[in-house]
Symmetry: C2
Subunit: 400 residues, 2 copies
Amino acid sequence: MKWIPIPLVLACALCLGQSPDDSQPATSNVMGSPYPRVHSDLRATFHLAAPDAQKVQVDVGGHKYDMAKDASGAWTGTSAPLVPGFHYYSLIVDGVAIDDPGSETFFGAGREFSGIEVPEKGVDFYDARDVPHGEVRERWYHSAITGRWRRCFVYTPPGYDANPSKRYPVLYLQHGAGEDERGWGLQGRVNFILDNLIAEGKAVPMLIVMDRGYATRAGEPDAPAWPPVRQQASGAPRPDAAQAFADRVRVFGDVVIADLIPMIDSTYRTLSDRDHRAMAGLSMGGMQTFDIALHHLDKFAYIGGFSGARVPFGNDAFDPRASYGGVMADAAAFNRKVKLLWLGVGTAEPERMYTSIHGLHESLEKAGIKHVYWESPGTAHEWQTWRRDLYHFAPLLFQN
Amino acid sequence: MKWIPIPLVLACALCLGQSPDDSQPATSNVMGSPYPRVHSDLRATFHLAAPDAQKVQVDVGGHKYDMAKDASGAWTGTSAPLVPGFHYYSLIVDGVAIDDPGSETFFGAGREFSGIEVPEKGVDFYDARDVPHGEVRERWYHSAITGRWRRCFVYTPPGYDANPSKRYPVLYLQHGAGEDERGWGLQGRVNFILDNLIAEGKAVPMLIVMDRGYATRAGEPDAPAWPPVRQQASGAPRPDAAQAFADRVRVFGDVVIADLIPMIDSTYRTLSDRDHRAMAGLSMGGMQTFDIALHHLDKFAYIGGFSGARVPFGNDAFDPRASYGGVMADAAAFNRKVKLLWLGVGTAEPERMYTSIHGLHESLEKAGIKHVYWESPGTAHEWQTWRRDLYHFAPLLFQN
């Protein structure tokens, strides 16, 4: 190894416009963007050229960090160490939350957001590995319920095209409130997770259908994904807004049963009996999953809630003898019928969310309802929790 | 029809928070966002809540319009009538160009941009119509040239899965500088254009492969998509930057020949002879198409440049006897071999672009090189030009 004079090393770092630290551009950046950067201790440094701005901050998951301006008019700021995984973030320029031009965008909270991917040491279950890859297919279909064309995405496993007589089980997998049908592909990396599980023989090859969890009936206007409760022009909450939101996500249930499942079963080579159909979802998507699947056990044998709201739209106490049309009233019958009921939650979730899901787990235990309760260590109401949910949930599907 | 008192009509408009004009939310908005809005005369009104900002403008295709603040701190501004089609735009808040939270984002000029879709009266060739729909499939593959995983998108026509013994011709279709492999799907609406052409019997069912037009050799760092010529920290242009950019897009040619085509032919049911392979691209993608296809006529029989740069990376005069390795020196032989050479340009393109492509057309005429020269009326260097190019180009492919 040659001896390199130290001044030359420094000059090299400077000519690349980078400080001589150990940080790397985030993998969620647009190609070639040097910022944001993730340090080895998982702090992240953000950067924005804004010579005329008065104040710039970065907001990562609700924590705001001040950024400082240099002589060139560029603002730089560094966060505290971040939890590994994917985080939405905004730069705040003179009070306006904006996307970072250095980042790709990800649909969340009803708008396109910047996002930063923080690596987890030794973890690559959601990375592109050297294994056979499936596809994520954009599929447009007409919905009779909504009277509109809808877009969904369908993951097809490696070998789907090469085995034109083979039929596959199907997992319907839903995003959360404020997100849409792109979330599981872009933020969740569903294709890499399944590619890797299938390559290791841990999960059976399956289709995964990711639809848009909102719908309004034919003739009704489209509505925002976020916030769930809209305000009137006066700023006062609309008294009917929570109900309107509830109706809107409930119409989606009709779409799933009347439009989506028939379209998928007639378009793809599926195994179309209930033993080969699962549904899962995160947050609002978990709530929708419980609502749809538990009311249609003739159609679903596997059910998953990833940080899923316990009961739809309210604080109704869960009653195993009455909730969801009393489907759990006979525990033994329910346990024979439902092959998997999964409840996942992150240990760092907001107290109310954690308590609600943990409480549901305890109620199910008491009622003798067989289920899997799983905690994601150290993660909150965020995609790293849900990637891990999927990684542990998918291997339990369609195994017999 | 019932008589409705006028005050009630006004009250209705007001209770929806909309001015009583004829404008509609742009179809490119995030779901439910009331702004931006397009008026019947194709003016567009933009809106941003920014109570603490000093100055807000909207920049649509290089034209800046001032926005005005109301008492609530929201800024509103209206453009002049816009040309129909898709336009990138930014809001400018205290000097920083930002994305509009009301808009979807589209990758262009090396970052995620807001975009506004302005309808063209009586034109629906790029809309979702009630016809059979193909798919756009996300496909990951490993490139030996770059040593990296790459993502491309593959349009498969309606019926691809249902006819597992049928084989299809392939069009390789490239985006422009600063855009990426998503452009033809999101901005270009390639799937709807082809679905509609195929349904009308105007185009034959084909695969369309949309790859990322940038590549660096294994071991070399990734580089920004934009700007093509990077500056040094001092602000002075890097003398080697144009060459570096040229190298980077040229490496893509090696990827196409060595990695992409073999992967596509082994993964999809293609017709893999040259008579069933086309390449086209817009702007930089047109330049790449000429460079790749004209140097590999053993692989391509159909060639299209949509506002395509005439010669790669410079002002070298086009010489039909010498350019592209002299492939056109024998015009009769070239005309027998190449089934279609297409040059498209918008009549409202920047002078230099128009003159360059029109001049190439005249040179080809003089040299007796058979080609189609096509002008898009009233459109500039923009997606509406390229959607129209594709609409007229695709029916000429693979017809015998």
